[in-house]
């Protein structure tokens, strides 16, 4: 099971990007998503691409993981590229096949949109590849803290998320085991008509739910006995540290946005 889930999975390391505070990385990625839309000509798109490559280099993530992260969206990318080429009718004709005319503007838009896709996918992948899920949770919890004033249960949500993350590998193993046990009893999940396949899921789902509930019950007991009674009066062991590196990172992004603003037409 686990073997299929290697994309977007956290790859431990100690590059510049790895050691950043999750808060700055989260803010950075969200701001970047907006900034991307500032680009509107060749120069700005080139800048966008260059900036992204710089971040990739800094993260020291092997290109293998980033390319693989593209796989699920590659179809979408090709599709939008073709749509732009087919339906934009501005500028000079650069290729005339008789039944189909490709315009300069169409090609340009197609390339731009592809670059936009690419940098967005790369940046978000780098966030998840360099930040452990639990750090992301910490970051989100702190960033959402102001929302406690409007009665959003931020602490509880974050705890739920961290427990969910903690149990993903456990439940994956469990799924694998139950699946194998049922296969050994002659159940077949991968063959036969749809109706049979759906029926074959029951022997997998029922034990999985039973075990998940049992775990939840055990865990609740263990938490209670260890003194958990909600977020009130709790202290935090996981501390986030804002460093000059984080300020530098966000300052660079601001600078970059200004640059884009100057060069856009």
């Amino acid at each position: 099971m686990m073997e299929k889930m290697i994309f977007g999975r956290y790859i431990p390391g100690n590059s510049y990007v790895h050691t950043l505070d999750p808060r700055s990385k989260l803010v950075f990625v969200f701001a970047f998503i907006i900034i991307v839309f500032l680009a509107n000509n060749a120069v700005t798109y080139a800048l966008l691409l260059a900036f992204t490559l710089l971040v990739v280099l800094l993260s020291r993530i092997r290109l293998y993981f980033l390319i693989n992260g593209l796989k699920p969206v590659i179809l979408l990318l090709v599709f939008t590229f073709i749509i732009h080429i087919l339906f934009t009718r501005e500028g000079d004709v650069i290729l005339d096949l008789g039944f189909l005319k490709i315009y300069e503007e169409g090609l340009k838009q197609g390339i731009f949109i592809s670059i936009r896709f690419l940098v967005l996918v790369f940046m978000t992948s780098i966030l998840t590849l360099t930040t452990s899920p639990i750090s992301i949770t910490d970051g989100i919890e702190v960033l959402l803290n102001p929302l406690k004033k409007v009665k959003l249960p931020v602490h509880e949500l974050a705890l739920m998320m961290s427990i969910a993350l903690r149990f993903i590998p456990t439940l994956m193993d469990e799924t694998d085991k139950i699946m194998k046990a049922q296969m050994a009893r002659g159940s077949d999940l991968s063959a036969g008509p749809m109706k049979d396949r759906i029926k074959a899921v029951v022997p997998l789902l029922v034990p999985l739910f039973v075990s998940a509930f049992k775990r939840a019950e055990d865990l609740a007991t263990a938490m209670e006995v260890r003194g958990y009674r909600g977020g009130e009066g709790r202290t935090r062991y996981r501390q986030l540290k804002w460093d000059w590196k984080d300020s530098l990172c966000l300052a660079t992004l601001v600078l970059f946005a200004v640059l884009l603003f100057i060069y856009r037409s």
Binding site: I134, R166, T170, E224, V225, G227, R229, Y237
Partner: protein, 281 residues
Amino acid sequence: MNEILSFNNVSFSYTPDIKDSRKAVDNVSFSINEGEWIAIVGHNGSGKSTLVKLVCGLLFPQDGEIRVMQNVLTEDNLWETRSSIGMVFQNPDNQFVGATVQDDVAFALENNGVPFEDMVERVHLSLKQVKMDNFLNHEPHHLSGGQKQRVAIAGALAMRPKLLILDESTSMLDPQGREEVLQTVQTLRDEIGLTVLSITHDVEEALLADRILFMNAGKKYAEGTPQEIFALGDKLVEFGLELPFATRMTNLLQSEGVQLVGQHMTEEELVNDLWTSNFNK
């Protein structure tokens, strides 16, 4: 001697409304003093687990009273009581709350509002005590069962508990893991005089205790030193337990007509007896 825990005529039934239904815990009394190691043995369904739930206030008795540090356990002092008791449960996976080893050890400290600097010190110290200080940032699914249980012990130790309860903590472990955990508990007892209550059906684990409480059908069937309890012999076997290895060997040898003086619980005793009674003549 300071009394840490006592049960006085405690009864509990899961179905108190049904008349004459069997009680899960039936009129049980015992006490544990500071520094003692008490083992509660009994087969599955003998009421051992209910006993544990009563100690940490997950259930309250219908009759009798439970005293922790000489205070009667009530809903009002529940949280205070829990912070002085450390518990290690059976399933190593289902009690690991934190994302990493150190987060999990800190969990109870966070809940009790211990300041950050203090927490760091306590987490490191207690992980050192269970020899898991090289695993600070390990995630639970990269640890063995025995290691997870040692982390759970560290989590309890961090609260500086008066009493450590092991609720069948070794029953799901492989022999190596079981050895690790028992070794850890023994060391802690020697070094910091920890008081231990272990619930088990493992006879060799029970032998480590100062006193054994033998439960059957919700009642305390017998209480005494390991010697006294294992002298019950076939009675134990009848109730689904086994005798220690040396005791079984003693019985078998005697039935083969080998002369031996009395019962033995450790191999050394048996070997010595065998030597003095038979070979060294």
